[in-house]
């Protein structure tokens, strides 16, 4: 997934780029000249756009860009005012994140926006099991396992990054972001329940624990 970063603060730009690279994305940093052309020609799947740019304004850029493209845009800003957020959203931003950002939350937002825009209606699957977020269930060959909200959030995050390590911190942030204010023990319990349910479906060792790192869904 290619992500175009439009940010004039060079330190922030390079750190953002490292963050995204570590998370498995392909970040590209825009030059600070002729930004509109770069936005159109980059071929990025997502654009991170700063509001305060030298000589121009992210909101204006977005407004013009939206006339020509539907590529998702997340606005980044150090301005914490509702006006900026309302303006950005009305100009067609997909999300609005204020600096300084919690990196884990920023990554969650990015993956949420990408998922929304990629949604083509096809049902998600895990190997040969069908994942239904609407029903909150996993089905494999007539065997249906109902997941609780927490288990679904965890499973979804692991599934989105299948084969990669997902840290406990990320799982915890995702749960809290969905109003599930669980503690460490509850997370462990949820994971072991999820394991048991996956076991019932015939995936006994689907979630692998990586000591001091996190979990991997295989």
């Amino acid at each position: 997934m290619k992500i175009l970063i439009i940010e004039d603060d060079s330190a922030l730009r390079s750190e953002l780029s490292v963050l995204l690279k570590n998370a498995g994305y392909d970040p590209v940093c825009a030059e600070m000249t002729d930004i509109p052309a770069q936005m159109l020609s980059s071929g990025a799947d997502l654009i991170l756009l700063d509001i305060n740019l030298p000589g121009t304004n992210g909101e204006t850029l977005l407004q013009d860009f939206r006339k020509r493209s539907t590529t998702p845009v997340i606005m980044l800003t150090s301005r914490t005012s509702e006006l900026d957020e309302v303006l950005s959203m009305s100009y067609g931003a997909d999300d609005f994140v204020t600096k300084p950002y919690n990196p884990t939350i920023l990554l969650l937002r990015i993956s949420a926006v990408l998922k929304r825009s990629a949604k083509t209606g096809t049902a998600q699957t895990y190997h040969d099991a069908e994942v239904s977020t609407v029903r909150g269930s996993l089905t494999r060959g007539g065997n249906e396992q109902i997941l609780t909200k927490n288990e679904m959030i965890i499973f979804q995050l692991l599934l989105d990054r299948i084969g990669e390590i997902v840290t406990r911190d990320e799982l915890m942030t995702a749960l809290w972001d969905n109003d599930e204010f669980v503690n460490d023990n509850a997370l462990s319990v949820n994971i072991s329940r999820l394991r048991a349910k996956l076991g019932e479906l015939g995936f006994p060792d689907a979630i692998v624990t990586r000591k001091k790192q996190g979990y991997v869904l295989i």
Partner: protein
């Protein structure tokens, strides 16, 4: 203007007149003017004096009585010069000119102060946005380097920066908020996620109830307000925070309740005052007495009521009341 007061004020004048009249009478008698003539002259002079005095009294009274009653009715006394009607007597005119000139100079002074104030505020806003860039940079660096040691300090820096920003906003006359329906749940979970590490480190559990409701407010300001309340709960040793919303026919009340050390009854009435730290501030340190003061000011500007209930050693409950659909009134 009371007649007695007027007479007392004119007393020296009457005394001089009396002495002068006495001299005139002595003079008339010395020249053997007939008694009838003296009486007639005296009566005429007296009538003339009384009429002048009555006239003087009434025209002054109509001016000064209006002045006093205007002053009494105005809730902003400084608007008095706008209501002055110039009288026809000289000293009144001089007074009016002087007051109006003073008024004009005061206005100039005030608008200069306003300008200075808003320049300063603009600078603060700009500074806050600038300082957030390096903070954001550091935060990303910490994350990218896998270093969690500095994260907590950065969070504190960011919190103090926000305090400055919202203090500047709370005192400003400009309207820089947007009132629209905001779901309490969204704002609360935002603040919960931001404080997640610290809450978990201290084993503080969160309980929410009824937050799936909309209130009319500015989301960013409410975020700051709830953040302040959360900080206090963390600072004052809560191990459970319960946030509940109570929907009433005409308003929604948000209760932010923790089971921390509570507030001494003697301090409770003062907690929203500027720079008030109280007993908890002395025993716990790190209190600036600004947090709740800013909260109260922001609530005032948004038209929300905020109040506190507490029993020392048991709980603290801060409630914010949101109006419903009615036109909210800023202070």
């Amino acid at each position: 203007m009371r007649p007695a007061a007027f007479l007392r004020d004119r007393l020296p004048r009457y005394l001089i007149l009396a002495v002068a009249s006495a001299l005139v009478l002595i003079f008339l008698f010395t020249f053997h003017v007939p008694a009838e003539c003296v009486v007639i002259v005296s009566v005429l002079a007296l009538i003339g004096a009384v009429i002048t005095e009555l006239w003087e009294f009434f025209r002054r009274r109509s001016f000064y009585d209006k002045l006093s009653s205007d002053l009494e009715q105005l809730d902003r006394k400084y608007l008095l010069p706008e209501m002055l009607e110039e009288p026809e007597f000289l000293d009144g005119r001089i007074l009016c000119t002087a007051v109006q000139e003073a008024d004009k100079s005061m206005h100039e002074q005030i608008s200069a102060a306003h300008r200075e104030n808003s320049d300063f505020r603009e600078y603060i806003e700009m500074w806050v946005h600038e300082i957030k860039l390096p903070v954001a940079g550091l935060q990303l660096m910490c994350h990218n380097d896998g270093n969690t040691r500095y994260a907590e300090q950065l969070r504190r820096i960011d919190e103090y920066i926000e305090n400055v920003l919202f203090y500047a906003r709370s005192g400003s006359a400009e309207k820089d908020y947007i009132i629209k329906p905001v779901t309490l749940k969204r704002v609360f979970s935002d603040i919960a996620v931001r404080n997640r590490e610290e809450l978990q480190e201290r084993c503080i559990s969160l309980r929410t109830e009824g937050l799936d409701t909309d209130v009319l407010t500015d989301a960013k300001w409410l975020l700051f307000i709830l953040g302040q309340l959360m900080n206090n709960s963390i600072k004052y040793e809560a191990d459970e925070i319960a946030v509940t919303a109570e929907v009433l026919p005409d308003r929604t009340v948000l209760h932010f309740r923790d089971n921390g050390i509570g507030i001494p009854a003697a301090d409770l009435p003062n907690i929203f005052e500027k720079s008030f730290t109280g007993e908890n501030g002395r025993t716990h340190g790190g209190a600036t007495g600004m947090g709740l003061f800013i909260v109260k000011k922001l609530c005032g500007r948004l038209g929300h009521a905020v109040s506190a209930a507490s029993v020392q050693g048991e709980y603290t409950d801060i409630s914010v009341t949101f109006g419903k659909n009615e036109l909210y009134k800023p202070e």
